[in-house]
């Protein structure tokens, strides 16, 4: 029976963590005030590559171990980070594109979005948002 207990512990869902409040952010000069949830998912999976004014969308991710990325992936992309990584393996190794850059911290994401006019990223609420603006996700 001991192995059954071990198996149950291994497979049991992780204890629900405190929900993380997210902000989706764009460059301060970006005229968008809100974005559709589906558009965000399409942008981060690079299925949609252009803003309405035909300028390039530049998504930027957090690193794979980030709990903020896990929350973003589940809530806005509809899949966990492991599934997203597999999606990008399919894209990258079949010659259909390259994954968004993965940055090490939310401060780096803010800095990147502030420096690139077409950028879109996400950070936890409470992050210093100097140089970027928050867009509402509908």
């Amino acid at each position: 029976m001991r192995w059954l207990v071990v198996l149950a512990l291994v497979l049991a869902p992780a204890v629900a963590a405190e929900p993380i409040a997210l902000h989706v952010i764009v460059n301060a000069k970006n005229p968008a005030k809100s974005v559709d949830k589906r558009e965000v998912a399409e942008a981060f999976l690079k299925k949609r590559t252009r803003w309405d004014d035909d300028s390039a969308i530049l998504p930027v991710d957090l690193n794979q171990k980030s709990s903020v990325r896990e929350r973003f992936s589940r809530d806005l992309l509809g899949r966990d980070v492991a599934s997203v990584r597999r999606y990008w393996a399919q894209i990258v190794f079949s010659g259909r594109g390259v994954a968004p850059p993965e940055l090490g911290s939310e401060a780096d994401v803010v800095k990147y979005v502030a420096a690139h006019a077409g950028a879109i990223g996400y950070v936890a609420s409470g992050t210093d948002l100097t140089g970027v603006k928050v867009v509402e996700v509908e």
Partner: protein
């Protein structure tokens, strides 16, 4: 597609300069993988000499992509593998292309371009991109990988969102294949040509998140000469094969759940002295669940009928029930363990089995396989 270690050196140099470019959006991206697997069957040699276990199951690939600007990029991937008589580590261009994405709804690729066919064909040689070691062989046979994964020609592609009504993801292409056909059953093939190849794939992403369905079509012609070295008096004979494949696909992938089903219908006309028509069928159903971020379990059942004129008899069908575990040991390292119970001998190669006819090979057999991959 012969050995080409020059490009390997070129890729290595590109890797060295990849980090020298400060702009993330136009920097060279370098990726690669190395896989090593093992195969063991309870009876019958399958893909390699597996009755006593085989480690002839190795793959390696390296690619780079260089975005020139927002719309234009170039890239290539070198791939080498060893799988029994297939591969023998010869490095080949897996893909080599120019990509111009004019709009989201229309882009073009030219060069050696991966063939989109169903859910898996264009990345069937990438272990890290799949939940299982062996994809369902009814649709994605390992023996086709040397020539059916990429074509040399052009492709138009696009993605169009209908907002709340879903989206269409589509690709159409035309070109040619460069292939060799190994001698088999005393027949030698020469002057092999593919004068035309055309196909396309469309997926409809439904408004229900994670649910999509699609249709793929692939048609082409192969011309070749053949001869019997043991009977030189017969001289050179000509053969033409025209084949059309239709593949329907359905997938639901969300929150760790993966459900897939595909159905293949194939029609071919082989002309030597008189034409012979053959219809084939393949299908599978797959269910997977990710128990933990590092553990995914997958089950599938795959069924093949290579010739619908006759489906009874062990050599005319292949049933395959598989269970697989994928362990993502780390962000760049994975391990898969997989067991198959197979009934039928239709996918077996007599030349790997002492030229025993398929109808005399073991009808029910097991296959165990393990594979590990490091990728970046």
């Amino acid at each position: 597609m012969s050995r080409c270690w020059g490009p390997v050196a070129m890729l290595a140099m590109l890797g060295a300069v990849a980090h020298a470019d400060d702009d993330d959006n136009t920097a060279v991206q370098l990726h690669g993988f190395v896989s090593q697997g093992g195969l063991l069957t309870s009876a019958n040699n399958y893909l390699a000499h597996t009755e006593h276990g085989s480690l002839e199951f190795t793959e390696a690939g390296i690619n780079f992509t260089k975005p020139i600007d927002e719309r234009l990029s170039v890239g290539m991937q070198l791939f080498a593998r060893d799988l029994g008589p297939e591969g023998t580590y010869s490095a080949k261009f897996d893909w080599l292309q120019i990509d111009y994405r004019w709009k989201d709804w229309l882009g073009f690729r030219a060069g050696r371009v991966k063939v989109p066919f169903g859910l898996y064909n264009d990345f069937a040689d990438i272990d890290a991109a799949q939940p299982v070691v062996l994809l369902p062989q009814s649709i994605y046979p390992e023996t086709n990988r040397n020539f059916l994964l990429a074509q040399t020609g052009v492709e138009a592609y696009g993605y169009h969102s209908f907002d709340d009504l879903g989206a269409l993801d589509y690709r159409v292409y035309t070109g040619s294949l460069y292939l060799t056909i190994p001698d088999a059953q005393g027949i030698h093939f020469s002057d092999i040509a593919v004068p035309w190849l055309v196909g396309g794939r469309v997926f409809y992403e439904t408004p229900l998140e994670g649910l999509r369905g699609g249709l793929s079509v692939l048609a082409g012609e192969i011309d070749a000469d053949y001869s019997y070295p043991s009977m030189p008096a017969l001289g050179q004979l000509a053969v033409t094969l025209v084949q059309t494949n239709f593949l329907g696909s359905l997938e639901y992938a969300k929150d760790g759940i993966l459900l897939q089903a595909e159905y293949l219908w194939s029609h071919s006309k082989t002309t030597t002295i008189a034409p012979v028509w053959t219809k084939a069928e393949g299908m599978y159903g797959l269910a997977g669940y990710r128990w933990r971020p590092w553990l995914q379990q997958t089950l599938y059942y795959s069924l093949t009928y290579p010739d619908l004129r006759q489906t009874s008899g062990r050599d005319h069908h292949q049933h395959d029930a598989a269970m697989s575990f994928r362990f993502d040991v780390g962000p760049h390292w994975l391990l898969k363990l997989e067991g198959h119970f197979l009934r039928g001998t239709a996918v077996l190669d007599p030349t790997l089995n002492d030229n025993t006819p398929r109808d005399q090979l073991q009808n029910q057999w097991w296959l165990l396989t393990a594979k590990t991959t490091v990728y970046f």
